[in-house]
């Protein structure tokens, strides 16, 4: 009973934050994403007991996916059902990729090679954002760097890059989708 009511309180809180965020409230959206990452970490840790090193990568991949597809949330549906469906989709995708990969490669090589264990910081993933960004074309990379990392406005970014404001917005949108695709390919 207590568990259920706590679950409902969490659901209610996440839902309100997301709805505020979708309406343009940036600080509510920031809080939503922060609480979401803790929620995702717990959700994925339970399901990746044998692959603890993958958890944080998958938390980040799911965060990016949820952000990119945030327009698919229907205010009438439980937010946790929506989140879990996306996280599960990314989880199954990861397991399928690994299964295919291990058929082709000797798994031992991989364990000691590229993927060093990251015990140091629980919330540190192995993917390096800066390196990923380098793979994007300029019209997507510059808007992301200026707007998302340096915190400039759309207008400032447009002035700095010589792009139109709508091109800046499209660049951010497409760039984040492209990042998600790159992460998926690299994983």
């Amino acid at each position: 009973m207590q568990d259920a009511s706590r679950l409902n309180a969490g659901e209610e809180r996440l839902r309100n934050l997301l709805i505020l965020g979708l309406a343009g409230n940036e600080s509510a959206y920031h809080t939503f994403l922060r609480e979401l990452s803790a929620h995702l970490r717990a959700f994925l840790r339970r399901r990746l007991v044998r692959l603890p090193d993958e958890v944080e990568d998958l938390v980040q991949e799911s965060l990016l996916a949820i952000h990119n597809q945030r327009h698919t949330y229907d205010a009438g549906q439980p937010v946790t059902a929506w989140i879990h469906a996306i996280a599960k989709y990314k989880l199954v995708d990861l397991l399928r990729r690994r299964a295919r990969h291990e058929v082709l490669n000797d798994p031992l090589d991989e364990e000691f090679g590229i993927t060093s264990a990251s015990d140091t910081e629980a919330s540190d993933a192995r993917t390096d954002l800066k390196k990923l960004l380098e793979q994007l074309p300029e019209r997507q990379r510059l808007p992301i760097v200026h707007m998302k990392l340096e915190g400039l406005s759309v207008a400032e970014t447009a002035r700095l890059t010589g792009m139109s404001e709508s091109a800046v917005k499209v660049g951010v949108h497409r760039g984040l989708k492209a990042l998600a695709a790159i992460i998926r390919r690299n994983a």
Partner: protein
């Protein structure tokens, strides 16, 4: 990369999200897909020569009602499967209802008909072309609906692909009724359905590859 940094990055300047994007995408997809199907129909098949007389027959409207209700149910199926975490709920029942209705009508017609007539009621004149023509007309709709889905987030890709195929088959069939000379329930209940199932099977087959994200 630390997750907190990613969170900060995603939240920075995130802005408001345009509401009702799913509805807009499906409206665009169905509008352009149906237009493509209508152009194909007009160019390659043409409307039935007695179209003006046919629309006065009740059976023409029974046929249209069957296909339209099937199209609406498959639209709901496709729209729900485009969003993570939504179940199909009552949609399978809504898809089955028009099929059962036309089968009941078909059974009634077949039972009442002379034995010699039954074969014609079932096969009509065009049974061997009807399903293929429906599949052809559904192709532009299928492309448009897959585009709509790709801008959303289907998580059950095979099922979503099948729903995209079913929806495009139903819209293609709506366009096909303008050309099709057949009006008998046994014909419609089998060959129309078969025609709609061709893109459905294609969608289930290619869905996982087409819709991945």
């Amino acid at each position: 990369m630390r997750t907190d940094d990613l969170v900060a990055m995603l939240a920075a300047g995130a802005g408001a999200v345009q509401p009702r994007q799913a509805a807009r995408r499906y409206a665009i997809a169905l509008g352009s897909g149906a237009l493509g199907a209508a152009l194909l129909m007009d160019l390659l098949l043409g409307p039935r020569h007695d179209f003006a007389a046919a629309i006065l027959l009740p059976m023409f409207w029974v046929k249209v009602a069957f296909v339209t209700s099937f199209a609406l149910a498959s639209l709901v199926a496709a729209a729900r499967l485009s969003r993570p975490g939504l179940s199909l709920a009552w949609v399978p029942g809504a898809l089955a209802a028009p099929v059962l209705a036309i089968w009941l009508l078909a059974a009634f017609v077949l039972v009442r008909a002379d034995a010699a007539q039954r074969k014609f009621l079932f096969f009509g004149d065009t049974w061997n072309s009807c399903p293929w023509l429906i599949a052809m007309l559904s192709a532009p709709v299928f492309v448009a609906v897959v585009w709509a889905m790709k801008g959303l987030a289907p998580t059950r890709l095979r099922l979503a692909g099948a729903a995209a195929g079913l929806l495009s088959g139903a819209v293609g069939t709506m366009v096909y009724t303008v050309h099709c000379p057949e009006l008998e329930a046994p014909f419609i209940g089998f060959w129309y359905l078969l025609g709609m199932l061709i893109p459905t099977a294609a969608g289930a087959l290619f869905g996982p590859r087409l819709l991945r994200w």
